[in-house]
Amino acid sequence: MKEEIIIAGFGGQGVLSMGKILAYSGVMGDMEVSWMPAYGPEMRGGTANVTVILSDERISSPILHEYDTAIILNQQSMDKFEKDVKPGGTLIYDSNGITHHPTRTDINIYRVDATEEAARMHSIKTFNMIVLGGYLKVNPVVEMKNVIAGLKKSLPERHHHLIPMNENAIARGTEIIKEVSMVE
């Protein structure tokens, strides 16, 4: 098993921490993992992305030019990464702020309207966990128990009381993700 993922959006959306929780979930499941951020002069409102690789075998390059899955959370990232999904791969996006929806027909496309759902849940900060839940529904690369263990590992202890809220958001994500088109 090998899954090569790019998560891309605005700085402040929790892109890097979502990748970190995913990577830690892989560690908990005894997988090989890598987490490579674009660490440029990104800031809140700028773009941010992270490449996460989960694999049963030793990982070669932490830097990739094509991905099994792209999780896209703003228009700039759509413009940049839609073309880099491998044929037959998966694109997951939040339609909030998206003016040009994905057009490829050789990949599986899913929509998870996490911004809207997070607002409805009065819990904007769990936005990224709703997205993560959606992703895990489509592609259960890591077991849910390992995701919770990963959450515990990546959150400082003083924030552990927030874990149930995050679990809840992940569960909500699994419910609201919708298939937009499927490769024929």
């Binding site: 990577a23 560690v27 890598s34 987490w35 490579m36 932490p62 830097i63």
Partner: protein, 360 residues
């Protein structure tokens, strides 16, 4: 049970330094390596092992604090990124001239000048060809994973004290910033004064009645004395070249082409090899782990077997010169690399291999 942690290469350097019993860290923040000192400050080793962690007023101060600590036989280190390491060059040549052991980590970013904060490998020349003035060498280790970022700290100190020479860990923004699983060693105690006096009798540990003064200096005003000293240095470097070359080979035995790459480029090229092999191109990789001493002899051997070599580095072409010298122009040697903070993708490397060596 072994404990696996997920951490950045920079964090791994800090953890490993404390665990292998380093006495002192002196540094000044700069992206992309600031997590090293941040992690040390978080871990507060002065409360556990007694290790000193000090933010100096500049990189120049840091490297000179290292000179002072190293002169006392202590295991001391500093870390920085390219512009900061340029500031340290005077200190490094003085350390080499005074034969002082220490470890310096350079998490390289794009230059020249203040440049960019993104990854690069364009400090190869500065590191292995001098940087500072005079005939000196830095033993140079090039980690290609977070695990190696951790492991090489202790390895570097061992080499530094074995040869009484500064050792550089030449990393880059990719290895520094990425997170991978890493297994950390158990805590080792710091050296005692008795241990230092017994094993490193050159150190300035306080003059005893039974021995003469230990003097740490790099100044020899008499030319003949300086020449004799330089012969001694050169003999040491020959011993390093004889005994300390490290490299890793990937799929070289049946290879028709060899990619030579170190650090993060070696990781990227490993994927390029997978892609190329699927296309039927027989390509392998030789990864120098020590950049000085350089695995020239192994490259020379491989040159008899392969049709060409591609040096892949995030620079405009630096290590490629050493590859060419090693193979003595017997086969074509080409360079490929993005630079200035851009990082080549595995696919771009395969295209370069096809265009520059196979198609050409």
């Amino acid at each position: 049970m072994r404990e696996l942690k997920l951490m950045k290469g920079n964090e791994a350097v800090a953890e490993a330094a404390i665990r292998c019993g380093v006495d002192g860290y002196f540094g000044y923040p700069i992206t992309p390596q600031s997590e090293i000192m941040e992690t040390l400050m978080d871990l507060r080793p002065w409360e556990s092992t007694g290790m000193v962690v000090l933010q100096a007023e500049s990189e120049i101060a840091s490297i000179n604090m290292v000179y002072g600590g190293a002169g006392c036989g202590k295991r001391v280190m500093t870390t920085s990124s390219s512009p900061g390491v340029s500031l340290m060059q005077e200190g490094l040549t003085y350390l080499a001239g005074a034969e002082l052991p220490c470890v310096v980590v350079n998490v390289v970013r794009g230059g020249p000048g203040l440049g960019t904060i993104q990854p690069a490998q364009s400090d190869y020349f500065q590191t292995v060809k001098g940087g500072g003035h005079g005939d000196y060498k830095l033993i140079t280790l090039a980690p290609a994973s977070v695990q190696e970022m951790a492991d090489f700290v202790e390895d570097a100190f061992n080499l530094a004290f074995k040869y009484r020479n500064p050792v550089m860990i030449l990393s880059d923004g990719v290895i520094g910033q990425m997170m991978e699983k890493v297994e950390l060693k158990e805590f080792a105690p710091r050296w005692t004064m008795d241990y230092i006096e017994e094993n490193h009798p050159w150190a300035t540990t306080g003059k005893k009645k039974e021995r003469a003064k230990n003097i740490i200096t790099s100044v020899q005003l008499e030319a003949s004395v300086q020449e004799a000293f330089n012969h001694k240095l050169q003999a040491k470097y020959r011993a390093v070249e004889e005994n300390e070359v490290l490299f890793e080979e990937v799929l070289c035995d049946d290879a028709e082409y060899i990619i030579v790459a170190y650090g993060s480029s070696a990781r990227i090229c490993q994927k390029s090899i997978e892609i190329a092999r699927e296309k039927g191109i027989k390509v392998g990789m030789l990864r120098p782990i020590t950049l000085y001493p350089f695995p020239a002899e192994q490259l020379r051997k491989r040159a008899e077997q392969v049709k060409g070599m591609l040096s892949v580095e995030m620079s405009a072409g630096q290590m490629v010169e050493d590859v060419k010298l090693a193979v003595e122009c017997k086969i074509p040697v080409e360079h490929f690399g993005r630079f200035g903070g851009s990082v080549h993708s595995p696919g771009e490397v395969v295209e370069a291999l096809e265009q520059k060596l196979i198609g050409g």
